[in-house]
Amino acid sequence: MSEAPNPDTVGGLTRRDAVKAFGATLGAAAFARALAPLSEWKDGMDFDSFVQKHYKELGPNDMDVVLRRLEKSTKEEYGADVEIRDIKPLDGVQYGYALNLSTCIGCRKCAEACHIENNHDRATGGSYIRVLEMKQGSIDLEHGDSTYEHPVPQPNRYYMPVQCQQCDNPPCVHVCPVQATWKEKDGIVVIDYNWCIGCRYCEAACPYHARRFNWAKPEIPAEEVNPVQAYLSNRIRPQGVVEKCHFCLHRTREGKQPACLEACPTGARVFGNLLDPNSDIRKVLATKRVFVLKEELGTRPRFFYFFDK
């Protein structure tokens, strides 16, 4: 090849290459500067949480390490002393929930109890329960309103609280690309908040609007944090992940009732083990004409509604 020797060449590099290298360095520096806010991001910078395995792949010892780490970070970030446990489903138990629409008065005490029990962000007033005010004469959700701000109950209205229906054929579980959400053997659909990537496909897939996303880091004053927590339920969720109702598994798996049921002033809520023939939930299913929401979608909810009169 006959190439004229370039007077600007130094060690095989031209002046132009040097200028290009300078430009590239400048570009890289500017890029690093643009991404600087990432360095303040605490969640993403913690190595142990970054490499943490999926819930189902954690052995008992791994789980213990994770739980202690989470308790420590809750203390650091929220100033609250909490105990986080990994509570497993019980054998021979299948949970079901029923709600009496004839007695519900729409007071939203259930939603409020959920807010406190499950350590929701205070500012946005989060809760896993939405109460719809419905017009008499229709069970079409299109005629429901969840934003009412007037005394209840109103004449010619009835009230329909909606939360996760713990479907036996859950669309949210099917669509999750990383198996961050699944159905436990007692029927509760749970989320590994440390595995969820925050794509929100499950939010799009749920026909009941049961899922919520942590659009920002939840803020709760230390004295208001509920310290009785479980890994798969009410521990304070990280920013950027999805959450949902878990039938208060940290209570119900230990024989207690869900917080929303305890808070209900009219006794509209019935919770229990579907496999226990003497349970209240079985009595409701045997004696009332119950229905499920959007049955035509084939999601097979575990949450039943009925009218008493």
Binding site: A34, P177, V241
Partner: protein, 412 residues
């Protein structure tokens, strides 16, 4: 004849590509600086979003996908649309198209990179993307359509990068490409192009809880609109490439693409009309989102101006493309292409993704307006994509015009 020593010529090829991709006129450097500045604005906005949370976006639990997923959906179409150059070039032996088909393959590569960036921008936890990697993460395949999308999009990216890379490399070393190393992949890429937009449509149409999306015509509609936006983009960019680089070719490829668009632009509008008829004539739950989209509902109508702009742009462009003038007057043709490109962009995003969430599944009417931060991230990703496409073109054109050749061992 001595064997080509790929271990020597391939690094040469890469080095040459890097050199020519970064060499150019003052205008080129100004263009790259401009794009880089936009990328930086987007990167900075995204970094704030990751740090402070997606509360900085206009999205909510009711409208949980917004501008990012809208752009993602549109760009999958752009990537798939590039196949409209591959089909004439390889199936119908259109020689003129064959000469420029590589530009379409490179466009697919750039569009797919943008798709991936938009998906990552939409994640609440981008630090956990590795959870999706089969083997070390937990890949919910085959149940989750999103895992199918990950597979087909990355597959399409690799196929296009391989075909374009192989053809450029063989040309660079002055060898005739071996058909068995690229032809099977070309035919695979045709089927694969259909699959990427089909799977992307299935993401939405498979959701029983969203009547607005839950329609079998969604995948055909996605393909029709992809075969509008893809050719529209290529027609305009081919002219820019012809002007800015030494690549010489006639109007043939543009005219072929015009012929394709004359069919697809009408097909797209026809399927939209079929959808609108079914929604409004049936009524009930199926029409509420459409009602909100086209006319507004209960005093809320944020999407109404968007969709009517899209319809105006698409219908006008369809008429313009049908006129004989589209064949002779390039400015006329380009105007129509730009109009329908924007029209499809609106239709796939503000006209399809957003109304799927309004009203919510519990019939709450919460509207969505993107925040400035989302617009910044969007512009940043588009700038990154155009920057990548520019670099790929800069690297490819000297090879395509035979200005760049390897220093062969046998030439010494």
């Amino acid at each position: 004849m001595p064997r080509t020593q790929h271990s020597l010529t391939y690094p040469q090829f890469l080095l040459h590509a890097l050199r020519s991709a970064t060499d150019g006129s003052k205008f080129f450097y100004a263009w790259m600086t401009f794009l880089t500045a936009l990328v930086l604005v987007g990167a900075n906005a995204w970094a704030h979003q990751v740090n402070n949370g997606m509360a900085l976006t206009g999205m909510s639990d009711q409208v949980s996908w917004g501008l990012y997923i809208s752009n993602f959906t549109f760009l999958v179409g752009l990537a798939a649309g590039a196949v409209m150059m591959v089909i004439p070039a390889y199936l119908f032996d259109d020689h003129e198209m064959h000469d420029v088909v590589i530009l379409g393959e490179l466009l697919a590569v750039a569009a797919l990179v943008m798709c991936i960036m938009f998906v990552v921008a939409d994640l609440g936890r981008p630090d956990r993307v590795w959870h999706m990697i089969p083997g070390i993460g937990r890949f919910n395949w085959p149940i989750s359509m999103l895992t199918w999308d990950v597979l087909v999009l990355n597959g399409y990216l690799i196929i296009n990068a391989h075909v374009a890379g192989y053809l450029l490399y063989t040309r660079f070393i002055g060898k005739k490409p071996n058909p068995k190393w690229y032809l099977p992949f070309v035919f695979l890429s045709i089927a694969w192009a259909v699959s990427i937009h089909t799977v992307t449509a299935f993401l939405y149409s498979g959701l029983g809880g969203r009547p607005f999306w839950n329609t079998a015509i969604l995948a055909p509609r996605f393909l029709a609109s992809a075969f509008v936006s893809g050719p529209a983009f290529v027609i305009v960019s081919l002219q820019i490439i012809r002007r800015m680089t030494g690549l010489k070719f006639g109007d043939g490829p543009m005219m072929t693409l015009l012929k394709i668009m004359r069919v697809t632009v009408v097909l797209n509008l026809f399927m939209l009309a079929a959808e609108v008829f079914t929604q409004f004539y049936t009524g009930g739950a199926h029409v509420t989102s459409a009602q909100y989209l086209y006319f507004g509902l209960h005093g809320k109508h944020a999407l109404v101006p968007w969709i009517w702009t899209a319809i105006f742009l698409n219908v006008t462009a369809a008429i313009m493309l049908m006129t004989p003038k589209a064949k002779t007057n390039m400015a006329w043709l380009n105007t129509a292409c730009v109009m329908t490109f924007i029209g499809v962009w609106i239709e796939k995003g503000m006209g399809l993704i957003i109304p799927g969430f309004i009203p919510s599944t519990l019939h709450e009417l919460v509207e969505y307006v993107p925040t400035l931060l989302e617009w910044k991230v969007m512009v940043g990703i588009w700038a990154a994509g155009i920057l990548i496409y520019t670099l790929l073109l800069k690297a490819a054109t000297p090879i395509l015009t035979d200005k760049a050749r390897a220093h062969q061992a046998d030439e010494d």
